[in-house]
């Protein structure tokens, strides 16, 4: 399992940057929104937490289809499935590698990009915490979706369609916690719920992912 994670990370760095590009997409979405919405400071500040969360969600989403599709196409996945590595480990390793290449950089960059949207002061810490808590859920849920669509040629958009409704609770609690912070309310409740979702997804979803992988490989 460690070997698989290490390989995926190395490939992400080599193959033109799974690292940099998720981040770049995040940056660009955040930059585009003011072009679309207009430059008024209050409006932007008002929508900043939501936009930052939606943008990280989209950035995470965009890199999902790399998770299994490449390995499927070049045959590695079938070889891995006959290797002494249970499908659950593959699922977990893939989710972890996705998080390290996407979730983590997004989390670290988000406060910086908050500036661009005039995110109010108290929200920076919360943004960091919610993303740190929430992005692992995004990665595991996304890995499940990627496993569902792995046999399909360019399942990319189908993948989005399947995964986005699954992302809704995470998004709501994440963005709500930051908004409460901005409004000076206590963010504890949504934070707890966010943590619960992440814990449950990380603990349970890899089994569903493994089942689906086995079905798709046969």
């Amino acid at each position: 399992m460690k070997a698989l994670i290490a390989r995926d990370l190395r490939l992400a760095v080599r193959a033109g940057g799974g690292f940099g590009l998720g981040l770049a997409f995040f940056l660009i979405v955040v930059v585009l929104v003011p072009f679309g919405v207009g430059p008024e400071r209050e409006v932007l500040a008002r929508i900043a937490p939501g936009i930052l969360w939606v943008a990280s969600l989209l950035a995470a989403l965009l890199s999902l289809d790399r998770i299994f599709a490449l390995d499927f196409e070049d045959g590695s996945l079938a070889l891995l499935a006959t290797a002494p590595l249970p499908a659950e480990s593959i699922a977990l390793a893939k989710a972890l590698a996705h998080w390290i290449t996407t979730g983590l950089p997004l989390t670290l960059a988000a406060p910086l990009l908050g500036f661009l949207l005039h995110l109010p002061g108290p929200a920076y810490g919360l943004l960091l915490v919610t993303l740190l808590l929430g992005t692992p859920a995004l990665s595991t849920i996304g890995t499940f979706g990627a496993a569902l669509t792995v046999g399909l040629r360019r399942g990319g958009l189908l993948l989005s369609l399947l995964v986005l409704p699954l992302y809704v609770p995470t998004l709501i609690f994440g963005a709500e916690a930051v908004r409460r912070g901005v409004d000076g309310l206590s963010p504890t409740a949504p934070l707890m719920l966010l943590a619960a979702i992440t814990a449950a997804s990380v603990a349970l979803l890899p089994f569903a992912t493994a089942t689906v992988l086995r079905i798709n490989l046969r």
């Binding site: 070997a3 190395r10 196409e73 045959g75 079938a78 070889l79 499935a81 002494p84 590595l85």
Partner: protein
Amino acid sequence: MLQVKGLACARGGVPVLENLSFDVAAGQALVLRGPNGVGKTTLLRTLAGLQPALVGDVTFAEGTGAYASHADGIKTALKVTENLSFWASVYDRAVPDDVYAAFDLSDLRDRMAGTLSAGQKRRLGLARLGVIGRDVLFLDEPTVSLDGFSVKMFADWMRDVHLARGGCAVIATHIDLGLDAPELELSPFVAASDARGGTDEAFL
């Protein structure tokens, strides 16, 4: 070492082969023959456990099988050495030094796998078999794209290394490998047109 009894298998929901029974002993290879589309790939995938058999049993010691498909599973963005050591560590082993010589990869060790020619890539794919140390190999047209010299090199490795140390192999191929191995022609085992077991059978 490998026993197959009364096996039937399907592809795309349609029964393809049936009534297959054979044994492969340690140190022995079995060559699968048959025209295109007869079901060699399907059979090998079933043996390797990638797809369920319709009926019948496939028996070999757990954790001794390995499969090599039409596709090589090579990462083009990794070096030759990195590709091999990845598979080695998945199987919890080290890369033996002589594997580079055995598959004529010594000069290519530090090349990105993406810059290899078709045959060089295939050699790398085969070298994986020398790394993972499995006993029961299921190989689907292993010598595609290889020149005569490389085919012989592969046959030598199969005979002198793998079979000699007590492994066995089931190999689908259209060419003559130069191995002294029994052949199994699959045409007689093509599933009858009314064979049972297709996905949609319940609907007939």
